[in-house]
Structure formats: C-alpha cells, structure tokens
C-alpha cells in the first residue's frame, strides 16, 4: 500500500487499540463489552494487514491462535472460580479488592472498580475476539495473496 495508507495506519492503530481496550474495560458500566471492544481492536489489526501486507505478519498466526485459546480458557476458568457456591457465581463482587467495590446506590457516574468477575470475563472475551478475528482476517489475506500470484 502507499505511504499515505501506511502513515494513517500508524496513527490509527494505537487509537483503535486504546478505544477497543476502553470499550472492554467499561463493559460493565457502558454499552459494549468484551466482544465489541475486541472487534474494535481487531479492526486495528485488519488495517495493519491491509496496509503492510499479510505476508509480513504470517509468523504471528501461532501467537494469535494461542491468545485466542487462552482467552477461552480464561473465560471458562473464571466460571470455575465460583464453584464454592455455584458455577459462574460472582465471588469477587462486593468482596473488596480487585473489582470488589459494592455498586453505589442511586444515580451515579459509575464506579469502574465494581462487578467482580464480570470485567475479567470481558477481558477474556475481548482477547479471544481480538485474536480470533485477527487470525481470520490474516488467514483470508494470506489466502488471497497466494491466489493473486
């Protein structure tokens, strides 16, 4: 791709990654969450694939698929965390510590440090979607390049 596209990609990639992270991070407070944030971040990866060519990223395929598996394992493992009560029980909510504040009563701007395992699950899903969509785009691009030749 031309230098214009590459330069714009260099500028937009951090923005899309940060915005994706923001959407994942605030999944329990605002619209969005793991899937949406992961898709936003993956669009950044798609831009890189388009601008710099898939062959330069071909070596990262294994990394992406490992990250995707890890996201899935982390999500299921967070479900197992609640087994003291029931599967998926939110043991971290309201317990203090990480995401452990209790939700304030009445209208409020929202406290990020609440909701227990939900934000962690959002992160797990976010990484899974980022890696999964990224790998799909990368594979399609690699496949297309091989056929263009």
């Amino acid at each position: 791709m031309t230098v214009v596209v590459r330069t714009i990609t260099r500028i937009l990639l951090p923005i899309s990654l940060v915005f994706g992270g923001y959407v994942i991070m605030h999944g329990h407070l605002t619209p969005g969450g793991g899937f949406q944030g992961g898709a936003v971040a993956a669009s950044g990866l798609a831009m890189v694939v388009v601008a710099f060519g898939a062959s330069r990223l071909a070596g990262r395929k294994g990394l992406l698929s490992s990250l995707e598996s890890l996201g899935g394992v982390a999500f299921a493992a967070l479900g197992f965390l609640g087994l003291g009560l029931t599967f998926f029980a939110n043991v971290l909510a309201g317990a203090g510590g990480l995401f452990g504040n209790s939700v304030p009563y009445g209208p409020n701007p929202g406290d990020l440090n609440t909701a227990g395992t939900l934000p962690l699950m959002n992160w797990a899903v976010g990484f899974k979607v980022l890696a999964g969509l990224g790998a799909v785009v990368l594979l399609f691009a690699l496949f297309g390049e091989n056929h263009d030749r």
Binding site: S66, S69, V73, A77, L83, L85, T86, F88, A89
Partner: protein
C-alpha cells in the same frame, strides 16, 4: 464437587476444547491424554447425573446463585440461567456420553496428524459441550446458544477436509440449513420473550395462553428443530454431512440430530404441554413417515458406503418421530397405547445411537483399510477384516429391526403403538425396514463378500470401540425389558406427564 455434576459435564469439555490447542503445543501425547481424560470425566458426570435423576427425581442447578437450588429471585421470578435435568435429559446425556466415549479413542487413532488432528479434537469437545448443554438447559435462550455452539462446531467438522471438493460443499449446505434453523429458533424465542418477558422454559410454559403469537412461535420452533434433526423434507444436508465428516466424528453429528429431536420433544411436551392439539401430533407423524420412506428409497441407490449409512441414519429419525408423534396424537384420547409408542420412539433414540454409531465406525474402518468408500471399488474385505464385517452385519440387521437385536426391541413398540392408531402407519414402517434390509444387505455384500483382496489391517482400538457398541446392541436386544423399565419408561414418562413435576421443580409448589 458432586453437587456441580450437571454443569461440570458442560463446562469441562468447553474448557477442555479451548485448552486442547495449547496443550498440543507442549506435546501431542499430552493433548491426546487430555482429550481422553476430558471425555472420561464427562462420561462419569453424565452417568452420575443419570443415576441421581433416575433415583431422586429432577435435578435443578442454578448458575451464579448463592446455592445451586435457588431458582427464584425475591418476587418469585426465575431470572438466572439454570439447568433442569429430568429423566429425558439424563437419557440424552447417557447417549451423548456413550457415543463420545467410543468415538474419541477411535478418533485419536483414526485422524492423521497432518490433517489438523488438534483442531478436530477441539471441535469435537466443543460439539460435545454444546450437545450436553442442549440436553440439560432449562432456559430457551440458552438452548439457542448451545444450538449455535453445536452448529458451528459441526459445520467446521463437516468441512474439515478442506482439500477435497465435496467436504466444503457439504459444510456450506449444512451451514446454510443450520443458520436458518438457528434464526428461526431465535425468532420464536423473541416472540415468547416479547409476550411474557421471560426466557425460562418452565416459567413461560406456566404462563402460555395459546395466543396467535404463541402458535407462531410453536411453528418456528418446530421448523427450526425439524431442520436441525434432518427430517424430510429438509434432510438433504445430512447425507452429505455424515459422509464427509471424519468417520469417528460423525458419531457426534448423529447425537447432534438426536438432541435436536430431544429439543423438539421438550418444546412440544413441556413448553406447549399445557395447550394440547392433536394436529401437531399428526404433523410430526406425517413428517416421520415421509422421512423414513424418502431416506430408505435413497439408501437403496447409493454407491458410496458413507452416504448409504447416512440415509439409513436419516430414516431412523423418522421412526423416532413416528413413535413420539403417535404419542402426541393420542395423548389425551388413548393414553394406554400412546405410551407404548412413545416408549418405542424414545428407546429407539438409544438403539439408533448404538447401531448407526457402529455402522459409521465400520465405514471408518473400511476407509482406513482401503482408502475408499465407493461400493463399486470395494469388495472381499470380509477375509481380511472379519471382525469389521461381523460388526457391520450385526449393525445392519439391528438397523433393519431383525430380532433378537436392539432395533427390533424398539421398533416392535413403535409398530404396536402406531398399529392401534392406524394399521397403515405400522405397515409403512415395516415396509421401510424391509427396504433398509435390502439396502444394507447390498452394502454388506458389496464391501465384505467376494474374492479376497489386499487390505490394510485395522488397529486394535478400532475393534475395541466397535466391540463396545456391538455388545451394547446385543445386550439391548436380548434383555430389553431391564432397560425399558429402568431407563426408557422414566424418560418417556418425563415427557408424558412429567410437565407438572418439571414446572414445580423450577417454580416451586
């Protein structure tokens, strides 16, 4: 831990599936041991759940609650996701557990490493998780989610051999049908959610008024699940799919169609059990008859062993629909013989799992030995592979309902029940069995009889997997009474008049 058994049966294969690619990076053997351990654990879980449910009644498990039995939030509304395992769900769980226990050891040896064995094992575990989720869930939206999980995993398994020309085509066809079926189901759920503001199956069942929207939702559920269960006239994806998926994984696809039928029974008997209409029963009966006749005739003309067995499998779906459909028609008017037909239909699910499972394993063994499934090229395998030939013969005879094998035990119940509704029904069912016998005799003759040919020997683990299913076929055929009394009757009665118990288990009192 044992209080969590129903959810562990779903969550462990889910976790196991995601972890499989990671473990494969450590070592192939670690991955194989892991996959086997997961399947064994799932088998233990479904067995434990079944014993518990058959002895102590419905098992409710609420996810994310303080206690597993806390079904209602203050105000008396079931808002959480829950699993409701009654005898019918536990029965489906047994079928899934049994077939995965035979399919996975077979698959570990059958799948070549260079063809992406890791991915096939991952997808197989995810498919198992989805199947058990569909069987155990007590929530309509969750049922849809697990339906989609099975759809995606199944389509990927069907299109697994991407380098062939037919596998991607079969996967595309299946994906189209599965997507439409999933969307129809989701639309039905949306209608009910819009009307009653709930997704819990038991809660909606208690509220159903029989309005026009309710009937529309019933039609959508019926269409979606019939499509997914591969009944005629939307059966055409199944022969392609069964034929193209790796043989060992086809067993899971067979369970997948059966669990869709289970979903149909759940919708008809539990969700809509309160408003009864014999017309729906006649619809199920006629679809069942159409399925068995069309599939049996199609089986006669196949030249590919895999597709022939696949059409045999589709025709058996027709028997299940006939049996349970007769039960639906006569639910209120003639309960005495309706229950016989329903027992036959439910029992046939277990028998079909064993016979069709064994047939597909034989197809896999033939493919392993000769590298082809084309009946025009095969022949004489009985000399080199006598055990495979005997297993194929036993399974074919069982499929055609020849005594003393298990297919006869369930078909005789279906014949009896449907005969008293209308003799024509059982006459057609018997005729179809004869057609199937003809088709499978030809297949046996074509593949196993004839002059001796060179063939690669099959590994011992294949024979062990096949022997387990063959012994099951013989045992169920020789002493059916024990299983009918102990397992099938509770399952049929859970559908039959278990609705009140099901609602009480979730909603209390």
């Amino acid at each position: 831990m044992s209080v969590h058994a129903p959810i562990l049966a779903i969550a462990v294969p889910l976790l196991g599936g995601f972890a499989t690619p990671l473990l494969a990076k450590l070592h192939r053997r670690v991955r194989d041991v892991w996959a086997l351990a997961v399947v064994l654990f799932v088998g233990a879980c479904v067995g434990y759940v079944a014993v518990h449910v058959f002895t102590q009644g419905i098992w409710v498990y609420v996810l994310g609650a303080r206690q597993p039995q806390e079904t209602l939030v203050p105000g008396g509304f079931p808002i959480r996701i829950m699993l409701v395992v009654d005898a019918m769900s536990a029965f489906m769980g047994i079928i899934a557990g049994l077939l995965s226990l035979t399919a996975f050891p077979f698959a570990l040896r059958f799948l070549p490493e260079e063809e992406g064995k890791t991915l096939a094992l991952t997808l197989g575990l995810l498919l198992l998780a989805g199947i058990l989720g569909m069987a155990y869930t007590g929530d309509l939206f969750n049922f849809f989610v697990f339906l989609e999980v099975t759809s995606i995993a199944a389509c990927a398994l069907i299109g697994f051999r991407t380098w062939t020309s037919r596998a991607p085509e079969a996967a595309f066809k299946t994906m189209l049908l599965y997507s439409v079926s999933g969307l129809l189901f989701l639309l039905g759920v949306a209608f009910l959610y819009g009307e009653y503001g709930a997704l819990n199956l038991a809660y909606i069942s208690a509220q159903l008024r029989g309005s026009f929207v309710d009937r529309l939702a019933l039609a959508l559920f019926l269409a979606a699940l019939v499509m997914k269960a591969a009944a005629a006239p939307v059966h055409f994806w199944a022969p392609d799919a069964y034929g193209e998926a790796p043989a060992a994984k086809t067993l899971l696809l067979v369970v997948n169609t059966q669990v869709s039928l289970y979903g149909l029974w759940r919708v008809l008997f539990t969700l809509y059990g309160g408003l009864w209409d014999a017309g729906v029963g006649w619809l199920v009966v006629s679809l069942g008859l159409l399925t068995m006749v069309v599939a049996a005739f199609m089986a006669l003309v196949q030249t590919d062993l895999g597709r022939l067995v696949a059409y045999g499998a589709v025709s058996q779906i027709g028997y299940m629909m006939l049996g349970v459909g007769v039960g639906l028609v006569t639910l209120s008017s003639r309960p005495d013989y309706a229950l016989v037909a329903m027992k036959g239909g439910v029992f046939h699910m277990l028998n079909d799992a064993l016979t069709v499972g064994l047939l597909f394993l034989c197809v896999g063994a033939v493919e392993w030995a000769k590298g082809t499934r084309d009946l025009r090229e095969l022949g004489g395998l009985g000399h080199g592979l006598p055990a495979v030939g005997i297993c194929f013969l036993v399974a074919s005879l069982a499929l055609a309902g020849i005594p003393p094998l298990n297919g006869f035990a369930s078909k005789i119940l279906i014949y009896q029940g449907s005969f008293r509704l209308s003799p024509i029904l059982s006459a057609i069912a018997i005729l179809v069995s004869i057609l199937l016998l003809a088709g499978f005799t030809r297949a046996f003759q074509g593949a196993f009889l004839g002059p001796r040919v060179e063939a690669q020997g099959v590994p011992g683990v294949f024979l062990v997997s096949m022997a387990v299913l063959a012994v099951g076929i013989l045992v169920l055929g020789l002493v059916p009474g024990f299983f009918v009394e102990g397992v099938v009757t509770p399952a049929a009665e859970a559908l039959w008049h278990g609705r009140a118990l099901y609602l009480a288990a979730v909603l209390g009192g």
